[in-house]
């Protein structure tokens, strides 16, 4: 079935049409109390709304001997309060088709409600009831303890979880980020109701909290409603952030988590990176995107398209209030593990030694601009972006600045940032797979230590 006519020029892409610029959606910032702010954006296109509440009570406050405390506290917020039992709370949102979720990240604890816009008032009231009157019932804590312990058992056979846990242990040793956000078997066995209540009292109803409201709603009405429900609750100074420094490794280390007979080897490489508020965050994102942050990055094209070692390989700088991780992750055939690691190092050293081409840089900037617009199509998308402003305390014009910074990044800056923020001589190389084969392959890359999947 060969085509019969060739009237259109297929030798190149047609010229683009007129560009219609993308603008960040309008939003408002309202003060509800001392150091309590509401971010609100109206999207009338669909009859949906979402409310997100963030407080500073994140995992970064976990006591050294009680990792997972923030996560346990956050999970328990919707497991019983002055008015309702756990099943009653679940039924109250689900019967309207909505959902409530609570949880902890490193930087904050969140409580979110999603619902049809006709149910906004009901959802907001329920959210307020949950965060204001949680009682952390002992029998629910036991149930949650058993569930989380079982989760930990499941993670022991999940290559990606094993790699992530070992990476944090090696790279963030001695800091809050070194322990699992969800806690360890030991800490889960000892977490108590008084400890949860104490953590909640100290870090939850405090200044520095933020509310995000997005969707088919009236900005004035939601401001009044949120003021009534939360205005008097979040008060006092915001808790002082824990300060810690991450000690870089002295040399590249190999850590193998043994999974005899595994069909593949999961790889996670990296070291500590940057804070989300880092002034060069946007430019570092440009550098990372070119190196390993998109399908057409150097690392993915090398490992996947040139060598066929993997289904995909990606790098990432994850920003937190403190220095988050820089990681490169992939899963490869065990027999090519060392070869894949070497190719990753080749790409890191190349971006540190030679300036990237003008063309690659222009394409990367254009990619980052374009996908930003695409990732703002839904209520959840916009709530996520406003949540970033809220949690990291970024200015209202942050995303305009972000675009400007991307635009201004030049080849020299990419080179300088790659030299400054990539450390191939101080990498943690985590390989989850059959140790017998991997030890032999990886021994030339750095000191080798072998772990079992049960090691904490």
């Amino acid at each position: 079935m060969s085509p019969t006519s060739l009237t259109v020029d297929r030798s190149q892409a047609p010229p683009p049409g007129r560009d219609r610029p993308f603008r960040f959606p309008t939003f408002h910032r309202r003060t509800l109390g001392p150091d309590l702010e509401l971010f609100v954006a109206q999207i009338p296109r669909v009859p949906l709304v979402r409310l997100d509440l963030f407080t500073p009570a994140g995992g970064h406050f976990d006591p050294r001997d009680q990792p997972g405390l923030a996560a346990s506290m956050a999970d328990m917020l919707d497991e019983g309060n002055h008015a309702k039992t756990a099943p009653q709370i679940a039924a109250a949102t689900e019967r309207l088709g909505g959902s409530i979720s609570t949880g902890a990240g490193w930087n904050s604890t969140f409580a979110s409600a999603s619902m049809l816009s006709r149910d906004l008032e009901h959802g907001a009231e329920l959210l307020a009831e949950i965060v204001r009157t949680a009682t952390f019932p002992v029998e629910e804590l036991e149930r949650q303890r058993q569930k989380r312990l079982a989760d930990l058992l499941q993670q022991r056979n999940d290559p990606r979880s094993l790699a992530g846990k070992r990476f944090s242990r090696v790279v963030f040793d001695g800091t809050p980020y070194g322990s699992p956000l969800g806690g360890t078997e030991k800490s889960l066995r000892t977490v108590s109701q008084p400890a949860l209540v104490d953590f909640y009292d100290r870090y939850f109803p405090t200044g520095g909290s933020r509310i995000v409201a997005v969707g088919d709603l009236d900005p004035e009405e939601i401001t009044d409603l949120a003021g009534t429900l939360f205005g008097d609750f979040f008060h006092g100074p915001r808790p002082e952030l824990p300060s810690f420094e991450v000690q870089p490794l002295e040399a590249t280390e190999v850590h193998i988590v043994d999974r005899p007979g595994a069909a593949q080897t999961e790889l996670l490489l990296g070291h500590a990176g940057i804070c989300r508020r880092h002034p060069d965050f946007a430019s570092i994102l440009v550098m990372n995107s070119l190196l390993g942050g998109k399908f057409t990055s150097r690392i993915n094209l090398n490992l996947r398209e040139r060598h066929g070692y993997t289904y995909g390989a990606y790098s990432q700088f994850m920003g937190r209030l403190g220095p988050g991780p820089f990681t490169i992750s992939t899963a490869v055939g065990t027999e090519v593990t060392a070869a894949a690691v070497r190719e990753i190092f080749v790409e890191i050293r190349r971006i540190q030694q030679e300036r990237v081409t003008e063309e690659e840089l222009a394409h990367t900037k254009s990619y980052l601009r374009g996908i930003f617009a695409q990732q703002l199509q839904t209520v959840d998308d916009l709530a996520f972006r406003l949540g970033t402003l809220a949690v990291y305390d970024l200015p209202d014009d942050y995303f305009d600045q972000y675009f400007r910074r991307i635009e201004e990044t030049d080849r020299q800056q990419v080179l300088t940032l790659a030299q400054e923020y990539l450390h191939p001589d101080r990498m943690a190389i985590i390989a989850v797979g059959p140790a017998v084969e991997l030890m032999h392959q990886l021994k030339d890359l750095g000191s080798v230590r072998v772990w079992s999947s049960e090691d904490d």
Partner: protein
């Protein structure tokens, strides 16, 4: 309960070569989503050559006569777009979302691989993508706890000669055996304009967009299509089951039943029933098995939207120390009840509201809308049918749910797969 009146509009066209075109204008964002469905999937394969539709999808990103290797990813990403494809039992889709000004780029790319693929195919590219796909299979299935479950359920629920018997990604030895001749004949057989639907959603001007579509796709010749597979599916005469010893610590139970093809009234009844029984922490199965008796770590039910017939399945993970037999029995008791008595009104009401919520949620992004419109064209020849899907659920009566369960949840017509730890029982 109401579904608001703002319907998504579709301007339907068709080219003389048979390509169906859907134009859905929404200028609220400066983006355009392009979506192509080819009515070919793993069900068009044959035993011994499984996984080929998916491997072939990978080959469609390896360039065509006028497009370089990886030119799709390169030229879309460099203008700020996203691009990908996916393969399913019944279809293969290709899609990109672009800044609106780059609509022409997407049409150029998609038409070139529809009309001019074969000159760019080489044994080296095939070898490379065979390796990529084998790693994909390891990553998604072979190296993942419980990863083989769906493959086994399909093998047990469908007889060996039924095209839903084998997995979309295919068996390792079949992937390894794919040849250049397979690439050529698969392309010539299935990748014709009269076997495809093209949907645009977003910010464009309809007449000029359609002219561009005519320019790029019009010259591609149609092809005679083979008859679609129409396998018969005799009722199962006995339960089929398997126990798999895996590298896991918690046992797990999968129970699968047949359901009607996607689009049938009882398909929607089955889907609403899954939400009524396991949709959320207030659902009856969660409340009983996870919350009250604490014998399950989690529980969910799902229904596949497939064209010939569908599979409905329950997945539940055992709490440490709980045997899969206990959990299986407890689940089956609940299912038996749902097959003999109408479901309590509160659960039906919740499920309806949950469906309505996800209905709106799913139609927000342009790429999701475009995909749904292509889907409704391929299966039902009705792109605007996407607007009525919530209605298909809301109109169901409790009796419809009971009709499905009583007709399909028969003890002898199910497949069960249990996973147990390789090294004996886990300690509580």
């Amino acid at each position: 309960m109401s579904v608001p009146a703002s319907r998504l509009q579709v301007d339907r066209r068709q080219l003389p070569n048979g390509l169906k075109v859907n134009l859905h204008r929404d200028p609220s964002l400066p983006l355009v989503a392009i979506n192509l469905w080819y009515h070919v999937g793993s069900k068009n394969e044959r035993p011994g050559r499984t996984g080929f539709a998916h491997l072939f999808e990978h080959m469609l990103f390896q360039g065509s006569q006028h497009i370089d290797t990886n030119g799709h990813f390169q030229s879309v990403q460099q203008v700020g777009g996203i691009v990908n494809g996916s393969t399913w039992y019944d279809r293969t889709n290709y899609y990109e979302t672009l800044p609106a000004s780059h609509l022409g780029l997407g049409l150029w790319l998609e038409s070139d691989r529809m009309g001019f693929l074969l000159p760019a195919m080489t044994p080296e590219k095939l070898e490379n993508q065979r390796n990529v796909v084998m790693n994909e299979r390891r990553q998604r299935i072979d190296n993942r706890p419980y990863g083989i479950a769906h493959e086994r359920l399909h093998e047990l629920l469908y007889p060996a000669d039924h095209p839903y018997h084998w997995p979309v990604i295919g068996y390792m030895e079949d992937i390894a055996a794919a040849t250049m001749e397979d690439v050529q004949s698969f392309f010539r057989t299935y990748y014709a304009p009269n076997n495809a639907v093209l949907t645009l959603a977003g910010d464009f001007e309809s007449e000029s967009a359609f002219r561009q579509i005519e320019d790029y796709f019009g010259p591609i010749a149609s092809a005679p299509l083979p008859d679609p597979p129409r396998p018969t599916l005799a009722p199962m005469t006995g339960e089929r089951r398997d126990e798999i010893a895996d590298e896991i610590l918690l046992s797990r139970v999968y129970i699968a039943f047949h359901a009607p093809a996607y689009g049938h009234r009882l398909w929607y009844a089955a889907d609403l029933l899954t939400t009524a029984l396991t949709g959320g922490k207030s659902s009856p199965l969660y409340q009983d098995l996870v919350y009250r008796r604490e014998i399950a770590q989690d529980i969910s039910m799902s229904l596949l939207p497939t064209e010939l017939s569908s599979m409905l399945y329950v997945v539940a993970t055992c709490k440490p120390g709980v045997s899969p037999a206990i959990l299986e029995e407890a689940i089956l008791e609940h299912l038996a009840e749902a097959a003999t008595r109408v479901i309590p009104a509160e659960h039906l009401e919740r499920a309806r509201n949950q469906v309505l919520n996800s209905f709106y949620r799913n139609l927000q992004a342009l790429d999701r809308r475009a995909d749904a419109m292509s889907e409704f064209t391929v299966y039902f020849d009705d792109p605007e049918g996407v607007n009525d899907e919530a209605r298909s659920y809301l109109d169901l009566s409790p009796q419809d749910l009971l009709d499905y369960a009583s007709k399909y949840w028969l003890p002898k017509q199910k497949a069960v797969v249990t996973f147990v730890p390789k090294n004996g029982e886990s300690s509580p």
